[in-house]
């Protein structure tokens, strides 16, 4: 059903890119994996959160005396009485972007915002208690769309932000006006990009346990235990080291679980007050209305090209619906502007982004991090320009595409880039399809993505990634990382890098992650950073341990100094004479004896340096999607797809396929299914009946042609895979519609009624023409 091809495979490794089962797999397929959702501690209470019914209101008075009378209710907390009122945010370096009190003290800014939290001996009693809490509000005028919120007379959502503009971002290189002068053809379009719910299968949940020694232990479903530890320390006025975050198994993240949420904050505040463990699990509805979402955007883009299709200049202006708080939205605002230029060379480029506060669910990072929106607009406009000029859309893209050595002025230098081969593979595939049935068409879309961010708005004093490799006397290996496994397979990927480097087998490596008490700090799983950054740290730590083992082997071998030793498959040997060697375990034992009984410990760390503004490395991809449309209903069916993809050297074979297929399903959902309609600030479909995600019957084959390149900054040449592929699909579907009917849909997700309307308009136009 699915085809996986490798273009230019590299030298075979022992472990890297071989068929390795996910090392957490047994726990996951047998039900043994314990998620935060499953945690039950002795004496545990259950918490529930009362939420704001208003999009914008002052909290005047909270009376919870009746709730406390209910048998089984153990306590209530409010922002005013039980918190320090700290305004927090993940952009810690910038005080004005720390704007969210998880339990607000005096004002609510969106429907669903937490107001009061209750703990009781059962979840049922806690839920019932919510009905007995009276909150008196003074309802304020509210605003829901960024274009309304920037108006002069719009209600003020946060004090001191003129026209509700939360953050602005500017990117520019080259002389834009001059470059537009050189263009023979200029096209401008306005686009609208929808939001999207992360919809992790495990809803936000936390179990907090505060003990009289002043220590707080929190089980929490998240993407970065270190961020949680640091952010919680900030809001609670505690030391980071007194807070332990445990996040062993996490039921999905997708960019939505690395900021504080109501579950972790309210459970901790309740536990501190009541000195008992408190568990809070969000219902699916709460997870929809009171977390965060992909950032909706209004996009203006103007592009100038020469007659032969050479790109000259691009100028973009973007207004994003920031919702009530900043979150990771500031990063999404920058990245959408940067990736809107991808994967092409522009002589001059200018981007101005405005993130606007509104009284809606806050928006933030979500898989793709602003780039799916950027590509939805860019890749469609490029397709239309090719049609306007009568040029081949693949060849026009190809001639402008990045290559090795491309410099994006002031932003990045591209070290590895396999996109040219991606064009070849896609072209071959489309040609091989021949004539399609009349209601079908193929659309293409290109993009690239980062391999971890360079920015440090979190203001961490630590290396971005760290790892410790410990070799035991029996040859087993403990790998401690702060990198977070959220299902993307990072534990397995890092175990593979460790095993390959050290020369042992994957089953020798035990990975310890998801616990701040025992693992080094690491920024965690976001921005596609772990394979490259944590991977480099693990490689360095394993090399450190290996060097210590080989020192003993050298001392003992008596080999001429020109000979090198290595370890492969648990065999310590001379590289030139692989048969001359010794069992790894024997060498390790002697090495430990030589260290006066100390285990072999290797340390590694990674922070990018001198790699530009954005990321140390970039993945590239080109996708083709074949769709079928029912002209009567406007319904889209996805029929087939091929992604030609360059992630450098693939490390985790099974993980890579899974990430690419999975990204396709989420990206396609963004393109044509996952619609979030709001009415007066209220989400109208906060459940899985009305919010549609792709199901098995809707998923087409997701074929992959993996173009192996070598990225010098990545471990063994690896770079990002899995997030970037969320970027192209919506535009590819749009481009298929354009190919099929000549219609230009400028809003995503593309709904059936939009297709029907466009077809009707087209018919009317044609009739007028007659």
């Amino acid at each position: 059903m699915n085809k996986y091809t490798v273009i230019n495979p590299h030298e075979p490794f022992r472990v890297i890119n071989t068929h390795v089962r996910n090392i957490d797999g047994i726990a996951k397929v047998t039900g043994r994996a314990v998620y935060t959702f499953d945690v039950k501690l002795p004496g545990m209470l259950y918490g529930k959160i009362l939420r704001s019914p208003h999009p914008h209101a002052k909290i005047l008075k909270i009376d919870y005396s009746k709730a406390l009378e209910i048998p089984g209710v153990m306590g209530v907390v409010t922002g005013k009485e039980d918190t320090l009122g700290v305004k927090q945010g993940i952009w810690r370096r910038y005080k004005d972007l720390c704007d969210e009190q998880i339990l607000p003290v005096d004002k609510v800014r969106y429907i669903g915002e937490p107001v009061v939290a209750v703990a009781a001996i059962t979840e049922e009693i806690a839920e019932k208690a919510l009905d007995y809490i009276d909150v008196e509000y003074e309802v304020l005028p509210a605003v829901f769309e960024p274009m309304d919120a920037i108006k002069k007379d719009a209600p003020e959502i946060h004090e001191g932000f003129e026209r509700n503009i939360n953050v602005t971002r500017h990117i520019e290189w080259g002389d834009v006006e001059e470059a537009f002068e050189e263009a023979d053809y200029i096209r401008e379009d306005w686009f609208k990009c929808g939001g999207q719910a992360h919809m992790c299968m495990e809803t936000r949940c936390a179990v907090s346990s505060y003990t009289p020694d002043g220590k707080l232990t929190i089980y929490h479903s998240n993407q970065s235990p270190y961020y949680m530890q640091a952010l919680m320390a900030g809001v609670l006025g505690m030391r980071e080291g007194d807070i332990r975050i445990i996040s062993t198994y996490v039921g999905g993240g997708f960019g939505g679980k690395f900021e504080l949420d109501g579950a972790i904050f309210c459970s901790a505040v309740l536990s501190i007050k009541l000195k008992r463990p408190v568990k809070i699990v969000y219902t699916r509805e709460e997870d929809f209305i009171a977390t965060k979402r992909r950032t909706p955007m209004y996009y203006y883009t103007r592009t100038g090209v020469k007659k032969d299709g050479t790109f000259c200049a691009r100028e973009a202006k973007v207004f994003t619906n920031g919702g009530a708080y900043t979150g990771m939205g500031a990063t999404a605002l920058y990245l959408t502007g940067f990736f809107h230029s991808f994967p092409y060379k522009w002589k001059a480029y200018r981007y101005d982004g405005y993130r606007v506060y509104t009284n809606t669910l806050p928006s933030t990072s979500m898989r793709g991090f602003g780039a799916p929106q950027a590509m939805w607009c860019s890749e469609q406009q490029i397709e239309w320009i090719a049609a306007d000029l009568g040029l081949d859309p693949i060849e026009m893209r190809r001639k402008n595409a990045h290559e090795e050595g491309t410099i994006i002025p002031g932003q990045a230098t591209i070290a590895s880039c396999g996109i040219q081969q991606c064009f070849d593979e896609i072209k071959k595939w489309i040609d091989s399809k021949g004539q399609l049935p009349p209601n079908r068409a193929i659309g293409i879309s290109a993009c690239g993505f980062m391999s971890g961010g360079i920015f440090n708005w979190f203001d961490t004093p630590y290396s971005f990634s760290s790892a410790v490799v410990t070799v035991n006397q029996d040859g087993t290996v403990e790998l401690n990382v702060g990198a977070q496994e959220i299902g993307q397979g990072s534990n397995t990927t890092l175990a593979i890098i460790c095993a390959e480097t050290l020369g042992v087998k994957v089953e020798d490596v035990k990975v310890h992650s998801g616990d701040t008490d025992f693992n080094p700090a690491d920024l965690g799983a976001w921005g596609s950073r772990q394979t490259l950054m944590a991977g480099n740290a693990v490689k360095m730590a394993a090399e450190d341990a290996k060097r210590q083992i080989l020192e003993f082997a050298y001392a003992q071998s008596g080999l001429n100094i020109v000979y090198d030793l290595d370890i492969k498959d648990r065999w310590v040997h001379a590289i030139a004479r692989p048969e001359r060697g010794e069992d790894f375990v024997k060498v390790v034992r002697r090495a430990i004896r030589g260290k006066d009984g100390q285990r072999i410990v290797g340390r590694g760390y990674y922070t990018p340096h001198r790699k530009g503004m954005i990321s140390p490395a970039y993945s590239y991809m080109l996708q083709a999607v074949e769709i079928e449309v029912d002209e009567e209903t406007g319904k889209i069916r996805l029929c087939d797809s091929l992604t030609a993809h360059d992630c450098g050297q693939p490390i985790n074979h099974l993980g890579l396929i899974g990430q690419l297929e999975g990204a396709f399903s989420m990206a396609a959902g963004y393109g044509y299914l996952e619609y979030m309609p709001f009415e007066d600030g209220k989400l109208m479909n906060p459940n899985l009946v009305d919010y549609k995600v792709i199901r098995a019957t809707e998923m087409p084959p997701a074929n992959i042609a993996e173009v192996d390149t070598y990225e010098p900054e990545g471990p063994y040449g690896a770079k990002e895979a899995g997030e970037g592929l969320t970027n192209p699909t919506a535009a590819a579907i749009g481009n298929a519609l354009f190919r099929l009917f000549g219609i230009q849909i400028k809003e995503c997700p593309i709904r059936a009624e939009m297709i029907l309307k466009a077809l009707k308009e087209k018919r009317e136009k044609e009739q007028q023409g007659k």
């Binding site: 059903m1 699915n2 068929h19 089962r21 996910n22 957490d24 797999g25 047994i26 726990a27 996951k28 397929v29 047998t30 039900g31 043994r32 994996a33 314990v34 998620y35 959702f37 499953d38 919809m199 992790c200 299968m201 495990e202 809803t203 198994y249 996490v250 039921g251 999905g252 993240g253 997708f254 219902t283 699916r284 509805e285 959220i486 299902g487 993307q488 397979g489 099974l654 993980g655 396929i657 899974g658 990430q659 297929e661 999975g662 990204a663 396709f664 399903s665 989420m666 459940n687 899985l688 009946v689 995600v693 792709i694 199901r695 098995a696 019957t697 998923m699 084959p701 997701a702």
Partner: protein, 161 residues
Amino acid sequence: MEKKVVVLNVNGIDYELYINPKTLLVEAIRDYIGLTGTKRGCDTVSCGACTVLINGMSIKSCSVLAVQAEGYKITTIEGLEKNGKLAPIQEAFLDQGAYQCGFCAPGMIMSSQALLNENPNPTEWEIREGIEGNICRCTGYNSIVRAVQAVASGKYTEVKS
């Protein structure tokens, strides 16, 4: 409502529970019996994370009351392996990487098992229909389809014995 004694046969063991009659089967399994392999992902019978087998057929355990399951053989994800030996469908999920975060996996595996119980040689479309009621946010389903196909093709028969 007055509490009631209910006997549930889960993975071959009779559990005597003293519960409120409106307790859902999923609550009985997770909260009273303590088998937390079965998950919950929604409140609208939409996601399939709580799927278990009742007399070999798949059912979303949030859609029935515990009392309604009395007298039937209930199998949860914990009941698929025998003496530490995984069932073919579990082996196939491992080989195909048919899960990522793993939260949907117990329900997905039970739906796949039920499908194979009913139709040992399903077509690709029958597999897709068979797991349509289960949402997986991570994999895009194709690896799950491949896993079911691998079992149907007899690849794991020796594991069965």
